[in-house]
């Protein structure tokens, strides 16, 4: 999956989880930049992202995910691997 496509899909997930329509994702964005993105909504977001892309994260990977850029890279990595397997 191309990065652009991932960002597009992720944006929709973010909009749904955080109940907003005017959020534009950037690579350097962190939880501090988004209203209501706290330790509670974070796990809901992760669950929604997994469902949308049909992937699974490991807890260890979440600890290293500090920015939206990291999240995009990780989704790209996982969906890429899925395509290779298919």
């Amino acid at each position: 999956m191309e990065r652009k496509e991932i960002v597009h899909k992720l944006t929709q997930v973010f909009h749904k989880t955080f109940d907003t329509t005017d959020l534009e994702l950037t690579d350097v964005m962190t939880a501090n930049d988004v209203d209501n993105w706290d330790s509670l909504t974070h796990m809901v977001l992760i669950g929604d992202v997994e469902k949308e892309f049909g992937i699974k994260f490991k807890l260890k990977e979440l600890n290293k995910m500090n920015t939206v850029g990291h999240l995009i890279d990780m989704v790209a990595d996982k969906t890429g691997r899925l395509q290779v397997q298919n």
Binding site: D19, D35, N36, D38, S39, L40, T41, M43, V44, I46, G47, D48, E50, K51, L59, K60, L62, N63
Partner: protein, 477 residues
Amino acid sequence: MVFTSLNFLLFFPAVILLFYATPIKFRWLTLLVASYFFYLNIEPVFGLLTALITVSTYSCTRLIDKAEEDSKKRVFMYINIAIVLLPLFFFKYFIPINEGIFDMLEMYDMRWGLPKISFLLPVGISYYTFMAIGYTVDVYNEEMEAEKNIGIVALFIAFFPLVLSGPIERATNMIPQFKSGMKLDPANFSPGLKLMLWGYFMKLVVADRTAIYVDAVYNNVALHSGDSILLASTLYPIQVYADLGGYSLIAIGVSRILGLEVMHNFNRPFFATSMAVFWRRWHISLIKWLTDYLYTPLAFSFRKYGIWGIVLALMITFILSGIWHGATLGFLVWGILQGIFLSVEALANKRRSKLVKRFNLKNNFIYTVFSIGFTFVLFAISEVFIRAVTIDDSLLVFKKILFEPGPIFLDKTTWAYSFIGITILLLRDFREEYFPEKKQFFNSENIIVRFGSYLFIALTILWIGVLNGGQFIYFQF
């Protein structure tokens, strides 16, 4: 030898002198010796326990690093967690379990009266146990490498400023600091001493003074009027804040003087506008620990249930946090209440933000005051179950507050002193919260204001501080 004892005021300068007289390479050793000297002077036998936890944690973390397969690493992590938790469970839950069994035996007329053996809870056990577990998990998660020098691990677990009551620090923060050359930097003295001075003020003036009134009322709930109980219940959260908050500040200040940065434990909790915000400001090191090592793994494994998975994780985390504080029904109720407050908030979060947006409440004065007051009331209600100890007494407290008002019991001196202390504390928090750059006292650029405020706080401590050794609430955990 607690921070508020005269002995500590002799011990600490001696440590500083020794610390700086030691070559930089061996300063960790001086701190380690000082830490064991400190701990052994409180409870000699339990020094064995910290040593045992050190050896186990050192060995297991090294084995985690050496193991190649993840499954093996995980086994070593679980082994150490089990070993480290064992003494905590034994000492903490020994008495309640004993009593429970005795009660059962008595119920069936099988109780045979023999002399009881009583155990003391090793001081600080809950704190260093959590630090050791955190370190083990961090090594497993590859947040850091296992430390190869067992002395540094021993120092991390027994470091004297933190060993009695936290803040519950992380190995990722402390171990690199212990290993880097701890250089003499006079620039650390002034901020360290300021933290200590404010800590002593919170502990000796606010907490110990207020405790006199709260104890008087709560030790005899049946005799006091509803209004007196309401006043004592309002003061109790402030007392606990000043108690643990003050003690933490002394620990942070002591560490700072030694050149070590330790995380803060409280951040003006009574200006929180929701329970979620409150729990990011109250006993921060404990909540961060629980979030990282308990809540997050739980929420992660429940994530497919969406918001209800979060609710479940919150409930389990806070119930365990309650039981960690003590094996009583009161603490269990306290934990359940926190879980419920936070869950309801999480479920209503979207609606609340919509409301705030729609009526533009974000900077609305009345809305902010209401939110702060409401948050405080919720927390104060939960604290009744801790202070009143038994459920019957807790229910009596609420019954009396609601239905049996009456004249307020006032010991005028205590009340006046405690009022002065609380006012200074809350005004300072208010200024820090809303006008952090304005009206500085301890950090004023004007030397007269700066030294005047040190002197004022120091004199207030001598004038109205309780100097004959008040009890410290948080040692028992």
